[in-house]
């Protein structure tokens, strides 16, 4: 029995990834995990059973050939592994770090039934880093020039992906980005300690090398509109503008100083590098007692940023219980290790201000879980008379985002749904306007990096077909 290869594989435990100690990392912005070494990656890759009908592939929104790339890793061909992934996913160094593998590929891994799944995300990250560090980045062959031009609005994961694909298909591509630096949420939202900005910069450089033109500091809908782009001779337009508008609680006192939207707090810290003030000019409040409202990745990123900026007490205030937290498991785990305090079943009802209009407290009410709601999760219900006050000097509201109306409001005939998201065909990204496509968060509402990329890949194929008809 002992020479049964499957059994032997099952004996190798899931390999942990070395990381900074919690007490060290809560004082710096360096990336938390160090990544696999070559040896550890080889070992982990051997755990893969190479299933004939791999369920992991079906769990991946862009259907990466997961057994295929892991087989190459197991053979020691790390660069080959990276290239295998890149056949379907152009941003593996990013996805390996930020994808919710536990609800996508790893959850369905056959090994997960009896024990721990193959660490697909860690291996993806490993090969992508290996390729980048080796400098052996292949610039793929481009189709011959089609003479057609496409405009991509927004440079988040959706915009970067479709730009790469369309360039490879032979079209001339210009990306218009509102901010001064491309990358979307990858640059302004997700912190350095989770996704080093050098990785995003490398992807953007690669796109430029491929031949895409990037024009920062252009907000489409102010000055130039989508119709202007079409009139200027762009044959197709892709809208990957994200769901960038913040949502507030709409409770009394929310405009007090010291209360941020997560977008503002993270933009100051990540895009403007306020964590390096005064070397960088943009300031940021340094709260000692910080409450972050919400339970998703955005909330975890905010609360861990506040810790690193010197908070003594950093709370996650969430109206449901731990089981409903929508953040990636790894982020919750890291936050707990770093000393974040979780206040579950707690909902703020009012902010209290002190001298100089600065927030000093937050009145909350205790909740209990009732019957399941539309989302299938048990609905939180306030417990009468249970109000109490938490002392805070800074608050970050991280309860979600919504569609920014700038593009829809300035594009006549562009259909949106009742939340303001653009209506697009799930298979092609086609909108109600001819030649205009959309994907990512502006279509789905807040979703994930990989889903935005999946939309972009489908839209790239559809745009390619459309351009042939012109």
């Amino acid at each position: 029995m002992s020479d049964n290869p499957t059994k032997k594989k099952e004996k190798i435990p899931r390999q942990p990834m070395a990381e900074q100690e919690p007490q060290v990392r809560r004082h710096n912005f360096d990336e938390v995990p160090f990544g696999y070494s070559d040896e550890v990656a080889l070992l982990e890759a051997q755990r893969c059973l190479q299933c004939k009908k791999p369920p992991c592939m079906a769990g991946c929104p862009v259907e990466i050939d997961i057994p295929g790339f892991i087989k190459l890793v197991a053979e020691g061909d790390f660069i080959g592994g990276a290239r295998k992934i890149k056949e379907t996913n152009t941003l593996p160094a990013i996805c390996g770090r930020v994808c919710p593998q536990e609800t996508q590929c790893e959850v369905v891994c056959v090994l997960a039934k009896k024990g721990d799944p193959v660490a697909i995300g860690r291996l993806e990250r490993f090969v992508a880093d290996y390729e980048r560090k080796s400098g052996d980045i292949q610039i793929p062959k481009k189709a011959s020039s089609s003479g057609k031009r496409a405009a991509v609005v927004g440079s988040g994961p959706a915009g970067l992906t479709i730009a790469g694909d369309l360039v490879k298909m032979g079209h001339a591509v210009t990306i218009f980005e509102g901010l001064h630096k491309p990358g979307g949420v990858l640059i302004y939202g997700i912190p350095e300690f989770r996704l080093p900005k050098a990785i995003v910069d490398a992807e953007v450089d690669y796109l430029k090398k491929l031949g895409a033109e990037i024009r920062p500091n252009v907000v489409i809908g102010r000055g130039k509109t989508v119709d202007d782009l079409l009139a200027e001779g762009y044959d197709a337009v892709f809208l990957g503008v994200g769901a960038g508008a913040p949502v507030f609680m709409n409770i009394p006192g929310e405009n007090l100083s010291g209360i941020y939207s997560a977008n503002e707090y993270l933009t100051r810290s990540n895009l403007m590098k306020a964590y390096r003030f005064p070397d960088y000019d943009t300031p940021i409040a340094l709260g000692k007692n910080v409450a972050v409202l919400g339970g998703g990745n955005v909330a975890m990123d905010s609360v861990r940023t506040a810790l690193r900026l010197g908070a003594d007490n950093a709370y996650i205030v969430y109206r449901r219980s731990k089981t409903e937290l929508p953040a990636r498991i790894e982020e919750i785990h890291h936050a707990e290790e770093e000393g974040v305090q979780f206040k579950f079943l707690t909902n703020p009802v009012e902010f209290i201000g002190g001298e100089k209009g600065w927030v000093t407290g937050m009145k909350c009410i205790q909740m209990e879980l009732g019957e399941p709601d539309d989302s299938g999760r048990r609905r939180p219900i306030p417990i009468k008379g249970s109000e109490f006050v938490i002392d805070v000097d800074m608050v970050v509201v991280a309860i979600g985002t919504q569609a920014n109306p700038v593009v829809p409001a300035t594009t006549p005939g562009l259909e949106t749904n009742r939340w303001g998201y653009i209506v697009a065909d799930p298979q092609t990204g086609a909108t109600s306007r001819k030649g205009v496509y959309a994907g990512g968060d502006i279509v789905r509402g807040s979703a994930t990096v990989i889903e935005a990329m999946g939309d972009a890949k489908r839209a790239a194929r559809a745009i390619n077909e459309y351009l042939k008809t012109l």
Binding site: V219, G223, P246, E254, S257, T267, M272, P278, D281, P283
Partner: protein, 279 residues
């Protein structure tokens, strides 16, 4: 060259006019809109009103007061230097129509912000009365330029060194008392000035438009740094404004939020005095 400084001229000891090459913005901008600029990659994004533009030359003009680190650095720049980024035009344009008689009140560097609006109102056929004021004579700007586009120009200085001794709001009050029929007032300047002007016009129910200057980051509606309360509702000044109905604005909130980073600003400037309490 894109974002090149074409000229950077002192209008007074603390106010500077800069002309920048930015053809796309010069092409599409309208009165009341602004740009966000960065001097270098480590710099802050600061909003400044577009005071004028020349579509043929592809340039636009801004007028800024030196109040802190970024504006001080800006004042050091010379023709031929390049800004790291210029984003615009941002904000809703001013609603321009022929209202009849309009009074445009500008205080301090707010005179620069008021200039393009006043000019557009004049071109739309309004009778334009301009009232401008400053602390003292030698920091009063744009007198000649405003005279050229106004039917009447009235001046005040806080210290009495020029024109009426007192505030722009006194002059407005006198105009109203003298029976001048006023259809609309525009008030642009320091927060206390705008607040007082709104109190002067409120009893007479004269529609009063103010241009708000809260702290901004992206200026595209993405962050909410710029939130102001208007008629009890939260609005984002960068996309819903910057102009609002002055009678509905919570000026106390605006003034508090403008002081949010006072300590850090002091640290950033070192050499320059923190002026935020004067705003």
């Amino acid at each position: 060259m894109l974002n090149e400084v074409i000229e950077n001229t002192k209008l007074s000891d603390i106010v500077v006019r800069m002309v920048i090459e930015a053809p796309d913005i010069a092409d599409t901008r309208k009165a009341g809109q602004f740009v966000v600029l960065m001097i270098d990659e480590k710099g802050e994004r600061i909003p400044l009103t577009i005071v004028d533009s020349d579509a043929a030359k592809g340039t636009l003009a801004i007028i800024y007061q030196v109040v802190g680190k970024t504006t001080a650095q800006l004042a050091e720049m010379r023709a031929g230097d390049r800004l790291f980024s210029v984003l615009g035009p941002l904000g809703r344009p001013t609603e321009i129509e022929n209202f009849g008689t309009v009074v445009s009140v500008g205080g301090g560097v707010g005179i620069g912000v008021a200039y393009p609006i006043t000019k557009a109102l004049k071109e739309a056929g309004n009778k334009v009365i301009s009232i401008i004021g400053a602390r003292t004579k030698n920091i009063l700007i744009l007198e000649e330029e405003l005279k050229a586009i106004s039917d009447k120009l009235l001046i005040s200085t806080d210290d009495g060194s020029y024109g009426h001794h007192g505030f722009v709001s006194d002059i407005l009050q006198n105009l109203i008392t003298s029976g001048e029929k006023i259809d609309r007032v525009y008030a642009i300047g320091p927060v206390p000035m705008m607040r007082v002007v709104c109190e002067v016009t409120r009893p007479h129910k004269i529609p009063t438009v103010v241009s708000l200057n809260p702290i901004m980051v992206d200026a595209t509606g993405m962050c909410g740094a710029c939130r102001v309360a208007v008629g009890g509702k939260t609005q984002f000044a960068c996309v819903d404004g910057p102009e609002f109905d002055g009678h509905e604005v919570d000026f106390a909130l605006l003034a508090t939020r403008l002081r949010m980073y006072c300590d850090q600003e002091k640290q950033a400037t070192e050499s320059t005095r923190c002026t935020c309490h004067e705003r």
